[in-house]
């Protein structure tokens, strides 16, 4: 489904001029050819022209922009690096896109108290690079980490390979400064734990740009583990690889990361990065980290379990360089698929870990039926599948068939008690599936939360929720009908 040809809605010249005065002419984009850069995020099949793009440089500028938009009834869509894969930063017609990429300063590093304060436009990897010399790091590591922003990570509650042990963005955000839809600035949480009141930070993280625009984030830093041990294991098929994952986890080991690739994904990675991987049915890449004696034990034990499960070959990297290469092969897998297929869709479903083998068989069946290839790359430890559905957009009907196949895989995840998204978010892409995962009452409850933050629904409208809903229609205090008082009627 593509909304490529949504009509361009224009913003009045007066508003454009005033926006331009707020952020500076070169940071206010209204020229249609320049606006094109912002018409989609990483989900390129969805495109909408924004009315205007502004790039503020401070919280004060964000406030001014938001207030002006508020007064003029304009919708706002926040944007980081635009690497999102669910259309979260997809504009709505005539909206103002607020791109936070100029706000990329690290404001404060407090090693003693274990936190740092950053602006939202800082790239994820730059945080850990900055902390490196102090022996600390920021744990969540999405594969896009060299470009994606902390603001985008906060909004999507992004994960990464090492989230199995250490948790997702939400477990590492202590607080945020947020500009609400009407321009009010609110500080949620902060470096000290357990501030009295509701966990608004917890509610905010993962809210997909619909509750406010983040202009500062307080992140938790972790001390680097003493040792890390990595191994790469190949298997005849995903069955043996899946069993290896299950038995490693059942043995009480908590891997820092355990990633699975099937043969097709491995061949793509070989083509793209030149890693020297054999042509086999599946592989696992696993890290354990922690105190030296502990990881020596857990890695040895895991290798044994992988062998027992039927591993063909186990490789242990000789040095940091070799280890980095193995990870590069894995992290490049999405992009690498571009080498073996003109087009592909990245899916992001979650299944209970114990069903991995079963699910991959079903995916194979579905892919045969659709006549399309599916490469599987995934975070096996937490059951987060990334099936890459390969197709050729030039062949009539293939794009649609690929989307249908992606949808069938998501429904399979739901049927097994899983989720339609483990880390990429609902955005514009998965709105239609929300009603299959949640009831009307679940969604209406979430909408109430949204209304508490943004009663006019100006922020990123149309995302996440299938049915638009007005905020004002809250039940007032209950007033009994006269017939009820007289006992003639009751409400059941």
């Amino acid at each position: 489904m593509s909304v490529a040809n949504a009509p361009a809605v224009t913003i009045s010249r007066d508003v454009v001029a005033r926006m331009s005065a707020l952020v500076g002419a070169k940071n206010c984009i209204s020229n249609p050819s320049d606006l094109r850069t912002y018409e989609c995020d990483g989900l390129t099949s969805f495109r909408v022209m924004p009315g205007l793009v502004v790039l503020p440089a401070s919280t004060a500028e964000v406030v001014a922009v938001v207030k002006l938009a508020w007064e003029n009834g304009l919708a706002l869509v926040a944007r980081g690096a635009g690497t999102g894969l669910s259309g979260g930063a997809l504009p709505v017609p005539g909206c103002v896109v607020v791109a936070l990429t100029r706000m990329k300063r690290i404001l404060e590093v407090d090693l003693e108290n274990g936190f740092l304060r950053v602006q939202p436009g800082v790239a994820n990897l730059d945080v850990s690079k900055h902390l490196g010399p102090a022996g600390t790091y920021y744990a969540p590591d999405p594969s896009s980490q060299s470009v994606c922003t902390i603001g985008g990570n906060v909004s999507e509650n992004s994960g990464g390979a090492h989230c199995l042990k250490y948790g997702f963005t939400s477990n590492h955000v202590l607080g945020a400064r947020v500009v609400l839809a009407d321009g009010t600035v609110v500080d949620l949480g902060g470096p000290a734990l357990d501030a009295p009141g509701y966990d608004l930070t917890g509610i905010f993280v993962g809210s997909e740009g619909m509750l406010g625009i983040v202009t500062e984030v307080v992140l938790r830093m972790l001390r680097k583990p003493q040792a890390t041990r990595t191994f790469f294991a190949t298997f005849p098929s995903t069955d043996e690889a899946g069993n290896a994952v299950s038995s490693i986890i059942a043995s009480g080991v908590v891997p820092a990361a355990i990633e699975m690739m099937d043969g097709l994904a491995m061949r793509a990675a070989v083509a793209a990065t030149g890693v020297d991987w054999p042509d086999v049915g599946a592989s696992l890449l696993m890290d354990v980290d922690g105190p030296l004696a502990e990881v020596e034990h857990t890695s040895r034990h895991s290798v044994e379990l992988a062998r027992e499960a039927g591993a063909l070959e186990i490789r242990i990297p000789k040095d940091e360089n070799e280890r980095a290469l193995m990870w590069k092969g894995r992290k490049s897998a999405f992009a690498a698929v571009g080498r073996i297929s003109p087009n592909y869709i990245v899916q992001d479903g979650v299944i209970p870990r114990s069903t991995i083998a079963e699910v991959l068989h079903e995916v194979t069946e579905l892919s045969k039926k659709a006549g399309l290839r599916v490469a599987n790359v995934f975070h096996a430890g937490d059951g987060n599948l990334h099936p890459l559905v390969l197709y050729d957009a030039r062949v009539p009907g293939q794009e649609k068939a690929a989307e249908e196949l992606g949808g069938a895989i998501l429904r399979l995840c739901l049927r097994l008690g899983g989720s339609i998204t483990g880390e990429h978010g609902v955005g514009a892409e998965k709105v239609a599936y929300m009603g299959e995962m949640f009831t009307e009452a679940d969604l209406e409850t979430m909408q109430r939360v949204r209304c508490a933050f943004d009663p006019e629904r100006r922020l990123n409208p149309g995302k996440v929720f299938p049915t638009p809903r007005l905020c004002g229609d809250l039940p007032g205090p209950y007033v009994p009908h006269p017939s009820e008082l007289s006992g003639e009627a009751t409400r059941g």
Partner: protein, 415 residues
């Protein structure tokens, strides 16, 4: 009892009072559906409702402004689903932590949460009060362990958020919303957690520190040495801190960390750091639990870890001085602590509470009274000043409970 039988109901007795406020009726539904029916009925009657789990933390917060009914979760104790190979469990909110741990323990697993009184505290109550114990050092708090929730709203409508898989970003995070919300947003009906494997072995050591600075330096040294304790708690009764440190994991790793810690502490190495036997270890963690539940006044402190000395040498000393049999449980790596004792004068204590709050305010720290005698409550608000985001909290409450009928007045800022 047939399927349509209403939840058991009786008149409120003095044992049902919440901070002196007696409910008119007490309901003990035996299913989540019955609980929803009670809430729906109370919505029709515009009645206020309070929730009671194990009844161990009812001292937290202010007395309710109104209390028409109490809903007890004592019969909502089922394990809805335990999937050992997926390391998740779904339970009803009235199950006690100890019952949950026994069930998953049989499969070599645990919920990595160890607050005091596990035999009495229910999962719903723990969630509502954000309860925790020493394991928070390594595993984080309830917000880091919960992956799904179902709740019953003030209007009797049931809704859920999150799911049954550890990784899931579909929809807003209702599970985290419920953590620490003190029954003001809805009844927690069922909760889904991620579980962890039970460690194969563990060891507890106790080091002694003369000052808060000493405790912090020890924490710092462990950090520098990349040790990964599962739990660190410093206990102060009298003049010395006993710093209890537990390592967990596979035997080789535990032994190596134990030895390295002893190398770090004392001169000669290990001289001021004892390795405890199993019995001694149990005793020290029991002592921790006893201090965490001591009274009649008990306050929870949150502060930036590096501000510990300034806190302890400043207004905090005044607070300790205003308490008889004062004790202090400190989690140095988290920046959290609990002070308890017998107030030596309500006004004195209330003043000390205010000055501690004053000294913490600049850094976002807080002091919350978990238990306090009435005369202290008369002079000090249990929550202290509401946070800067209070207007938004109020709005959230209004959206979910527009008539303000759930636990009215008990929470921060009178929510």
């Amino acid at each position: 009892m047939n399927a349509t039988a209403p939840a058991a109901v009786r008149a409120g007795a003095s044992a049902d009072a919440i901070l002196g406020v007696l409910p008119k009726e007490v309901f003990s539904p035996s299913t989540v559906e019955e609980a929803a029916a009670v809430l729906e009925e109370k919505a029709r009657a515009s009645a206020s409702v309070g929730f009671v789990g194990g009844g161990t933390a009812l001292g937290l917060g202010r007395p309710p402004r109104r209390l028409d009914a109490v809903l007890r979760t004592e019969h909502l104790t089922r394990i809805v689903e335990h999937a050992p190979s997926d390391q998740i469990i779904v339970v009803e909110a009235g199950i006690t932590l100890a019952d949950l741990q026994r069930a998953v323990g049989a499969h070599g697993q645990r919920l990595a949460l160890d607050p005091p009184l596990p035999e009495r505290r229910t999962i719903g109550g723990l969630l509502a009060t954000n309860g925790f114990g020493p394991l928070r050092t390594r595993y984080g708090s309830l917000r880091d362990l919960i992956i799904g929730v179902s709740l019953v709203r003030a209007d009797g409508v049931s809704a859920k958020g999150g799911g049954k898989v550890v990784k899931n970003v579909a929809g807003f995070d209702l599970p985290k919303m419920m953590v620490g919300s003190l029954g003001t947003l809805g009844l927690v009906a069922t909760v889904t957690f991620r579980l962890h494997p039970l460690p194969e072995s563990d060891v507890t050591l106790v080091a002694r520190a003369r000052t808060a600075r000493g405790v912090r330096e020890l924490a710092s040294a462990m950090r520098g040495a990349q040790l990964e304790p599962a739990a660190v708690a410093a206990l102060l009764q009298g003049r010395l801190f006993d710093v209890a440190i537990r390592f967990e994991g596979f035997p080789a790793g535990v032994a190596e960390q134990r030895d390295r810690l002893r190398q770090l502490v004392g001169q000669p190495p290990g001289s001021d750091c004892d390795v405890l036997s199993e019995t001694e270890a149990r005793a020290v963690w029991e002592r921790h639990d006893a201090l965490r539940t001591a009274g009649p006044l008990r306050a929870k402190l949150a502060f930036l870890p590096a501000a510990l000395e300034a806190l302890v040498e400043g207004p905090f000393a005044k607070l300790m001085g205003a308490l008889g049999e004062a004790s202090f449980v400190l989690y140095p790596t988290l920046g959290l602590g609990f002070v308890a004792g017998l107030p030596q004068g309500a006004v004195l204590v209330a003043q000390a509470v205010e000055s501690v709050r004053g000294s913490l305010a600049g850094t976002g720290g807080s002091l919350v009274l978990e238990e306090a005698p009435d005369d202290v409550r008369a002079h000090a608000d249990p929550w202290g000043p509401p946070p800067p985001s209070f207007a938004l909290m109020r709005e959230l409450k209004n959206r979910l409970d527009p008539e303000g009928r759930l636990n009215p007045g008990r929470f921060v800022g009178g929510i």
